[in-house]
């Protein structure tokens, strides 16, 4: 069947069986390999991506359920020039080891921070249920707290820039200047 959705901000249309898991459509039909296959039963979280901003385990979501929705993968979360606060924190704290499960962790963490900007350790324990065999858990926890700080700084910077723009309409590069 024909399914259309937004992938990292771009409109995409595929012609695949509607019950194909979104994971494989993203990986093999649309060529973005950052979202990983780990178990196929939504048990490990390696395939976590965002559908309309919510963390979803895409190995168990039929592609037809994504019709008309916004799908974001690790490739769309940020890039080296414009990393998401979660990715900045992951780099700062050198979180990955083998790295295979890490996109899933980062997507789950980004969704948590969007919902709960300043999560407690208990929030993290309850929400981040992904599996990591290298056992990077200690750094994942620190990085989520660090990402919360970085996101708050970005938000504060944006507010300042907006304030400047509102106060001085001649300045158009306020936001860029804070980067």
């Amino acid at each position: 069947m024909i399914v259309s959705f937004s992938l990292n901000g771009e409109a995409r249309t595929v012609d695949v069986p509607g019950d194909t898991p979104l994971l494989w459509v993203v990986r093999d039909d649309l060529g973005l390999k950052g979202t990983k296959f780990g178990c196929g039963l939504a048990a490990c979280g390696s395939c976590t991506l965002h559908v309309d901003g919510e963390a979803v385990r895409s190995c168990s979501l039929p592609v037809q359920a994504a019709e008309g929705r916004e799908v974001t993968t690790i490739e769309g979360l940020g890039d080296p020039e414009n990393p998401h606060p979660v990715q900045r924190a992951w780099i700062e704290l050198i979180v990955p080891q083998c790295g295979y499960c890490q996109p899933g962790f980062m997507m789950a963490a980004a969704a948590l921070l969007a919902e709960t900007p300043n999560p407690t350790d208990d929030d993290i324990d309850a929400t981040i249920t992904n599996i990591c065999r290298c056992a990077t858990h200690a750094r994942v926890r620190k990085a989520i707290h660090r990402a919360a700080e970085l996101a708050a700084e970005v938000a504060a910077g944006a507010r300042t820039a907006e304030g400047r723009r509102n106060g001085d309409t001649s300045s158009e590069d306020g936001a860029g200047g804070d980067r």
Binding site: C39, L41, E75, Q97, C98, I128, R133, A138, R141
Partner: protein, 746 residues
């Protein structure tokens, strides 16, 4: 950036030569001092060496030159290649694979320091076997950095001096007059970039290898340099075997029996053949597979096959446990001092039995391989720890020569010993040959759990006699284990027979308190009906759990503090002094106490593995019947820590992986079927189980880098169990500990 994306064209980044590149044109081997050097226009300088040891790798190179064999095809392949490119970047082709342990980063640090260049110039890549860069062994055993330390420093320093000599010649000055900094050579106001030097070079003069620098001269070694693969791993680059693609590739799913020892009886593929996307149902002996256009189509059609399997008998966990008993099978004495039998012959002996279950690797990237088999050649792209073994196996199954097969290793989505045999490469190769197109085979998670080569279950018998003062007069440890070394394709059967005892099974099973007057360790071998093999740290986790829990029992029986008891029996030699130092440091750092404070007790344990001592203190509470580990203090002495941050990362990871295995993990056998087959039921530690704090301290009481990736897995199980004993008075003698405590409290 260090990694090579594996998606796309076969030629990986950093693979400079087309067919016959260095043989034709200007490139040639210069043998003035028995090194092998190529200079090819537009390519740069290739400089390589084997890394067994100084004298051995020189013999390797000399042999290659003397027989005029190209490094890309000869049988005496070197293990490391540097490539200096015209843009001044440097590619280091590594025969060791990167599975998360940080080896690529350590190699880049060492190379940058001896080359005296910015580390950003160096890109470490996995060497494909067609590059001639072959590791005859494997990536494992915590040996990569320690094994390459001497030869990589020497080779990088030699390359640096070769470029200095050649650059000086091009400028017409004496090599002593030039200065070099970050790949730029200057003399008398003129300068040449390394890329310019190598592009213009004809013959190379190879000096005697300079002495490596003193540690104090290094900019990168012993510093917490960020991982060189960080960016790929944070932004989702396609660097894993799972991500490999080739034009026109198909996907295959293989039918596997659920039951142990089952043989194929019949296949009815009528329903599967007509399913969407199915290209072919392959039946070749025991290999039954569906090849289809997509992963999902292959899996679904495989599930629609009606395959009948038959097994001679049906195994149960209890039968496996009964096989793994001290006293059954073949004993080997692996350590003996004094006369333990005599001292332990009479009364007053303290005795305990311990057990550990079957453990799964459970790495997240399943076994996967992409093969492209042509009439005269074959290529396989995969995550593997055994590149050369895989090459031989694929060649054998295809009836080809090994030189016709190119294995392209990728970044591994976890190793842990799971990929010390990767027969899925043979499956992919056979299927590609049959359908005439590239084929990628991926294990389902169920197959991954059922076809694993497990950590073997163990049984331990410990006996000891105390002195009147509570010291240990005699101790013996007997361990019965399924095979680790035996049966592994890495160790040929004749060699295994010669070795006899299974060094993998008894790893960590010796008594490290060698000042105990009478001590002995005995390893009992038992063959199980399913594959058991290398699991990160091998026997260390189970053996240390048993011995270090028993030492804690002895401390309570003798009324001696467990840290004091350990320190009282450490031998006065170098290994003993290093062990003493980590024990004292861990006790001090954790503010060791026997008291229970605010419901939290400490447990202490230590191990010595691959010459690296490690001591840990676990701070544990028991809430209802649930064990909770709040903090772990870990002190390790790996010798020189090439990258202290990555040593810490390995300690943090080992603590939580070991905690997960010790507290929760267990494979069982019901009616011949291994399970669980999915995460969750196979319970592993998640964020809520991981300690909120892991405090790592690194001592460096040795002259060279030692093992890091496995030794810190040793103490954690015993440390947790010892804390639980303090809290509850219940001695947990079988892993998984959480289930054992629930049974004891029920």
């Amino acid at each position: 950036m260090s990694g090579e994306p594996v998606t796309g064209a076969p030629g990986t980044a950093g693979e400079p030569m087309g067919d016959g590149g260095p043989a034709e044109g200007r490139g040639r081997g210069i043998t003035r001092r028995r090194f092998l050097v190529f200079s090819a226009a537009g390519v740069g300088l290739l400089f390589g060496a084997g890394y067994l040891s100084r004298s051995t790798w020189r013999r390797y190179i000399a042999a290659a030159v003397n027989t005029a064999e190209l490094p890309y095809s000869g049988p005496t392949e070197p293990g490391l290649w540097f490539e200096v490119l015209p843009d001044d970047s440097i590619v280091l082709h590594s025969a060791k694979v990167e599975m998360g342990q940080g080896t690529f980063t350590g190699l880049a640090q060492i190379a940058a320091d001896e080359l005296e260049v910015d580390i950003g110039r160096i890109r470490v890549v996995h060497a494909a076997t067609a590059s001639g860069n072959v590791d005859p062994f494997a990536t494992g055993g915590s040996t990569s950095i320690s094994g390459l330390w001497d030869s990589l420093r020497e080779m990088a320093a030699t390359l640096r001096e070769m470029i200095r000599i050649e650059g000086a010649r091009q400028l017409g000055v004496d090599p002593g007059e030039v200065a070099m900094a970050d790949a730029v050579l200057t003399a008398g106001g003129r300068s040449l970039r390394w890329g310019e030097i190598v592009s213009a070079a004809g013959e190379w003069e190879v000096p005697d290898a300079p002495e490596p620098k003193a540690l104090g001269e290094y900019r990168y070694v012993r510093r917490p340099v960020p991982r060189v693969d960080l960016e790929e791993k944070v932004f989702g680059a396609p660097i894993f075997g799972m991500d490999a693609e080739l034009p026109g590739m198909l996907h295959a799913a293989i039918a596997r029996p659920d039951r142990i020892g089952a043989r194929l009886v019949s296949v009815n593929a009528d329903a599967a053949r007509g399913m969407p996307g199915v290209v072919q149902v392959v039946e070749e002996g025991e290999l039954v597979a569906v090849v289809a256009e997509s992963f999902t189509q292959a899996e679904r059609a495989r599930d629609a096959l009606r395959v009948e399997w038959a097994a001679d008998r049906s195994w149960q966990t209890e039968e496996i446990r009964a096989m793994v008993r001290v006293g059954e099978g073949t004993p080997f004495s692996i350590q003996r001092e004094g006369d333990p039998e005599d001292v332990l012959g009479g009364g007053g002996v303290i005795e305990a039995e311990y057990e550990s279950p079957i453990g799964a690797h459970a790495q997240i990237e399943p076994a996967v391989a992409l093969a492209d088999v042509r009439a005269e050649s074959a290529t396989v792209i995969l995550s593997t720890q055994v590149v050369e073994l895989t090459r031989k196996e694929v060649a054998r199954v295809l009836g080809m020569k090994k030189e016709q097969v190119d294995i392209r290793p990728t970044f591994l989505g976890g190793g842990f010993g799971r990929r010390l045999h990767t027969p899925i490469a043979m499956d992919a190769a056979r299927l590609s040959r049959t359908v005439g197109r590239p084929v990628k085979v991926t294990h389902s998670r169920k197959a991954e759990f059922q076809r694993d080569t497990f950590r073997p279950p163990t049984h331990h018998l410990l006996r000891a006699r105390l002195t009147d003062a509570g010291g240990i007069e005699a101790i013996e440890h007997h361990v019965s284990s399924g095979d680790v070394m035996h049966g592994s394709p890495l160790v040929p059967a004749p060699a295994a027979a010669l070795i006899g005892h299974d060094f993998g099974a008894w790893r960590g099973g010796m008594i490290q308190y060698r000042a105990i007057p009478h001590h002995e360790a005995v390893s009992w071998r038992v063959k199980l009906p399913f594959a058991t093999s290398w699991w990160r740290s091998l026997g260390l986790l189970a053996n240390t759990f048993a011995i270090e829990s028993f030492i804690d029992e002895l401390s309570i029986a003798g009324g001696v503090d467990p840290v004091e008891l350990r320190l009282a029996h450490i031998a006065d030699d170098e290994a003993g002094r290093r062990l003493r130092a980590v024990i004292e440091a861990a006790a001090s750092r954790a503010e060791w106490t026997n008291e229970v404070r605010d419901g939290i007790a400490m447990g202490f344990a230590a191990s010595t593995d691959a010459n690296t001592p490690c001591a840990q203190v676990a701070e544990v509470s028991v809430e209802g019947d649930q064990i909770r580990v709040h903090k772990v203090t870990c002190v390790i002495d790996p010798g020189i820590a090439v990258n202290p941050d990555q040593v810490r990362a390995q300690c943090e990871g080992s603590v939580v992986m070991g905690l997960s295995a010790a507290l929760f993990e267990e494979m069982t056998v019901r009616d011949g079927v291994l399970g669980p087959t999915i995460y969750g039921p196979y319970r592993m530690a998640t964020m809520r189980d991981a300690p909120r704090e892991i405090d790592v301290d690194i001592l460096e009481n040795a002259e060279a880098p030692g093992a890091v990736g496995e030794p810190p897995l040793g103490p954690i199980g015993a440390a947790i169990g010892n804390a639980v004993a303090r809290l509850t008075g219940i001695r947990l003698r079988s892993m998984p500990l959480q289930a054992a405590l629930q049974r004891a409290m029920a």
